[in-house]
């Protein structure tokens, strides 16, 4: 036993490739799970002090999450928009429902102010007392159908429910400082807000409750006494959908340290599990349960897009292999979890491996859940450039941490044929083909590989012992990349090691990666630039919450 080598986390060059990042699956370290775990462990209470919707479903409601130290309220405004106005795009101006998460319990005056702003979303303003701003649209396919069924005293068909997976889908959930919301830095001292996206996750979970409540309300308005509520097994299947577009992609490039911390925590968790020398019967059972649930989940995962169909086929094949392999788990190896993992690395595709990772983490809450405290980042603390560093030291960083970038020939057209920019129209990120008219000055600085390459070139004529301070004084245009390189030197998982302006880049991979960390399941791409996902399927509902219910 003493001779067993310590198991290292997987290296960045393996893990920070889009091919693998785009195969990410949600784990128990996802932000949604972190939020739910806290709600349960700390025995938060939930109520709905206000419900004021008319027969057309127009009005407002307030839901509260009451914790040991603080209360948060979801204020929901329900509207009735004609079908032609409904759109998930950022350019929409009206939605079926709009929301904000309020810090505390809102007064009449707060509700009045919010009613004048929240329904207008980006065109309104919110204050530091609001932690998130979001909106949701009804699923045209499902919503009316479910209302009609319930109104007639019947349950909707389970297959119809599973085909869509949600009654409503959010089209944006803004937090941290956006449109006037509270800045994350002012919230991070609160334990319930410290991990990433907790306000957003709480908002969406309460929106899920709202989506069921509004459907039942409309059913009762339509059907009166013959109407029924949704059966628990159907509610269970329903999540909150989301349409995710390119807006999310720049985030993981811009927030280097955050990206590092998410990945590093996950990799440390995997290494810790792999290092376990034993398996109890309880853990084996827990793994089996996780596998069964995962297999069921993937069976329901529907997609028509080419990109995803191939991956789904891989995953389905891999699931069968995992199922067979689990029959002989744990076996007799001194490191049974590691043996299983290594089998996976040799046998499964990327999709299967990342799914196996999630399965391996699932039974080990007591070992790894505390890693969630390492997933946020103090980016301010590392903003200063170290001017004393020498040119040689920086060159060494480029050679060791950016070898992937230096190996790319950016003069070749396919290496720089794409262009990240922000549209004037709605200030949203876009990703297009570079044309001759595209001004270099308008290109968003997401092409890190090329910037690293340019920096390397610029450093060539400089003496080895010159300071970076003197280099930057002469060439301040490299400050952005120098800062990144110095950060990357301290944070191994902080760069995506792919060319983000290459001809064959699939932005979807970046989106899926972030969505997996949020806790999304059911990735359903609609193009290579946006996709539908579902959150909270299979989880408890806040108003139903009992201590025994465990989330999925």
């Amino acid at each position: 036993m003493n001779n067993i080598k310590a198991i290292e986390p997987r290296p960045p060059k393996e893990v920070m490739r889009l091919k693998r990042m785009g195969a990410a699956h949600p784990t128990r370290l996802s932000f949604l799970r972190v939020m739910l775990n806290r709600m349960i462990l700390e025995n938060w209470k939930f109520d709905r002090p206000i419900w004021c919707l008319n027969e057309e479903g127009v009005g407002y409601a307030v839901y509260r999450a009451i914790g040991p130290a603080r209360t948060y309220s979801l204020v929901a405004f329900s509207h009735n928009i004609p079908d032609h106005m409904r759109s998930d795009r950022v350019i929409a101006t009206a939605w079926d429902a709009t929301f904000t998460l309020f810090d505390g319990t809102p007064t009449e005056a707060d509700l009045s102010r919010l009613s004048r702003n929240v329904p207008y979303q980006e065109a309104g303003r919110i204050l530091a007392s609001e932690l998130s701003l979001s909106r949701a649209n009804r699923s045209v396919r499902l919503f009316r159908y479910v209302v009609a069924c319930l109104a007639a005293g019947q349950q909707p068909d389970v297959q119809e429910i599973e085909d869509v997976g949600y009654l409503m889908r959010t089209t944006a959930v803004y937090g941290s400082g956006k449109f006037g919301a509270a800045d994350y830095r002012d919230l991070r001292a609160r334990p319930e807000m410290a991990a990433p996206f907790q306000a957003e996750m709480l908002s969406v979970w309460l929106i899920r409750q709202f989506s069921v409540d509004v459907v039942e309300h409309m059913a009762f308005c339509q059907g009166g006494d013959s109407a029924v509520k949704l059966a628990p097994h159907i509610k269970h299947i329903l999540g909150v959908g989301n349409s995710t577009g390119l807006g999310m992609a720049p985030f993981i490039v811009r927030h280097q340290i955050l990206l590092n911390n998410w990945v590093e925590s996950r990799e440390q968790a995997l290494a810790a599990v792999r290092s376990l020398p034993s398996v109890s019967l309880q853990k084996t059972r827990s793994l089996q349960v996780a596998f069964s649930q995962f297999r069921l989940n993937v069976c329901k995962w529907k997609t028509k897009h080419d990109l995803q169909v191939g991956k789904l086929n891989d995953l389905q094949d891999d699931i069968e292999k995992i199922g067979d392999r689990l029959k002989i788990f744990p076996g007799t190896s001194p490191l049974p979890w590691d043996e299983l993992w290594q089998w996976g690395e040799q046998t499964l595709t990327c999709e299967g491996q990342e799914a196996l990772l999630a399965l391996l983490l699932e039974p080990h809450g007591e070992l790894i859940d505390s890693l969630d405290s390492l997933m946020s980042a103090d980016e301010e603390a590392e903003f200063l450039i170290d001017g004393k560093m020498s040119v040689k030291e920086l060159k060494d960083i480029l050679v060791t941490k950016y070898d992937w970038a230096l190996a790319i020939d950016f003069s070749v057209p396919e290496s720089h044929s794409r262009f990240w920019y922000v549209s004037e129209e709605k200030l949203e990120p876009r990703f297009g083909q570079r044309t001759q008219e595209d001004e270099f000055s308008k290109e968003q600085p997401l092409c890190i590989g090329r910037l690293a390459s340019s920096l390397d070139e610029a450093l060539k004529p400089w003496p080895q012992d010159a300071s970076i301070a003197s280099f930057l004084r002469e060439l301040p245009e490299h400050r952005y990349m120098v800062r990144r390189a110095q950060i990357a030197n301290r944070h191994p998982y902080s760069e995506i090691q792919d060319n983000l302006i290459a001809d064959d880049l699939i932005p979807l991979d970046m989106l899926r990666f972030k969505l997996a960390f949020l806790g999304a399941s059911h990735f359903d791409p609609k193009s290579d630039k946006w996709l539908r996902i579902c959150l909270f399927q299979g989880a408890a509902y806040p108003l139903d919450l009992t201590p025994q219910e465990i989330s999925l």
């Binding site: 795009r89 303003r125 006037g180 004393k388 129209e425 297009g432 301070a469 301040p476 245009e477 946006w530």
Partner: protein, 237 residues
Amino acid sequence: MTLSKEPLCLDVLSPPLKGEQTILSRGEVESLCLKAARGAGMAWGLAEEAGFSAGWLWARGFDGTQRLLDHLLAMQISSGYNKSPLVMPRHWQAPEEGRLCPILLGVTLCDYMRLPEGLVMSGPLLVGPVNQPLLVLPFLAAMAAKMNKPVCMAWQGEFVLVTSEGELVSSVAYPVFEEGLFEVSIAESVSYGIQPTGRHAVRDTTLSMLNDFAIKTTVMISDQSRADAGAGIEDND
């Protein structure tokens, strides 16, 4: 060291704003100022640093957004602002006639902090003349935090000192940062400073003009760019 005797409120270091205003979050101030600085011609890294400077000042009740806007407007008239300071022992100057860019000065002070020509080994430093000197203060704060010692900027009998905790001590209630030369030095530790907190407003005219710069970082709409957004198929289902 004299502590300002004004009460601890938002306008303790700057007089209240007049005119139509909007209360922004710190994130919004930093983001807008970063984009405006880029739109005005700063490279991305420097623009990030301009956003940091404006946000830090805003958080302490200074009208950092207006000062940054004034500097960005000045940049459109004179190209001298894109030159880094001449770094010499004890005196840092503009390489040509005219003033230094406060952001370039601020970041260069930080970069050189522990080098022979920098604050630790070569201070006190006489620097300038610099345009909109208030914008340099946040960089002195960054150095103070790194060194765990207060840093002081002084001019014509006035001074503002920033502690390693980001708190401020000033010689007068509303320090007026004179454009010209000033001295940067490491100070003795102080036992107290003030840090006005809360959300601060930005004048709507300032916002509007910063937005005019920021919009230059975007690309005009076209059918092609609408297609680049993502949804190639109907998304209302």
